[in-house]
Symmetry: C2
Subunit: 203 residues, 2 copies
Amino acid sequence: MDRPAPRRPKRTNDPEGMRRRVLDVAEETFQARGYHASSLGDVMAAAGVTGGALHHHFPTKKVLALAVIEERVAAAVEETWIAPLRRGPSARDGVRAVFDAVAAELERQGYVRGCPLNNLAHELSLADEEFRTALATVFADWRQAIADKVRDDQRSGREVGTDPDRFATLAVAVYSGAMSMAKTSQDAGVLRECLKGLFPSSF
Amino acid sequence: MDRPAPRRPKRTNDPEGMRRRVLDVAEETFQARGYHASSLGDVMAAAGVTGGALHHHFPTKKVLALAVIEERVAAAVEETWIAPLRRGPSARDGVRAVFDAVAAELERQGYVRGCPLNNLAHELSLADEEFRTALATVFADWRQAIADKVRDDQRSGREVGTDPDRFATLAVAVYSGAMSMAKTSQDAGVLRECLKGLFPSSF
């Protein structure tokens, strides 16, 4: 393409772009190495920002981690779970579709990094009460979305005799535990096996 | 008590006692703070051992963590899950008894630290291949013990039409995920809720 690039602000004049870059790097390093094993210096270097710029957006490492949980981890659960579930014809179909899609994606990439929420929940729930509350909110919203879908199914007669909150809690538990095993065995097959165990009559 | 204390070897002449003390402290600190956030200096100080003594038993932090996984975490799974399951009248009864016992114990202590295996699996599975293999072995032995119990039940006619490996994988996934949520919400009730979801016909 020989056309000149569109004009855009320089990086240093793009505070939102800089904030986004810092969050990209922090999300990646907290997931890959853990919060405690990641330093703000590493984040600054990888994001290409100065200490002053980092401090402007995120005065402490804790503030940065809370933003990763509330913005990035919550968005990952929304994208992977909640949106496909809402689009599906029923809660059961939605849960099945999510398990299948995640298993297929993990098999395609040949690598299991685990569930972003569970990864941080294990490391940070006991470390700090604000971390714990932020993580618990993401779990609660996830369960709520599944339970609400079951209630929709019940109103339209597609689901009978299922406790919506219990179904939601079980689905999140099975997925979370399956991802823990899949990460440890580096084998996504455990997701498919758990799905068959969860809905035995469907297979 | 005015009687003289029984003679016993001094601590410095009790290498097995010292090794045990170091493992006690390392197990505790890795669970409470995580592997990366714990230093060998902290372990030395809390266990009351010198650097030389620590190095004699555990030349590196990695060797110490592998011992924690292979001895302490495996023993916790054996004690909490495998032994009660084997003693129970059936796999289903055993799984139910374990969920109930763990929920009751967590409610009694008013605090959820999470599952020792899952806590370390999330932090260490991607950090090092030997950690990952050691953790995967503990998961595999746990699933094997449940599947073997289902096979016993089938031989004696107590269980019909259940895939032993699938049942075992699902039970471990539900428990692992429920403990993850219980830790994040600091509420053991999710274990009871998941148990009811897992065996709906029993409630």
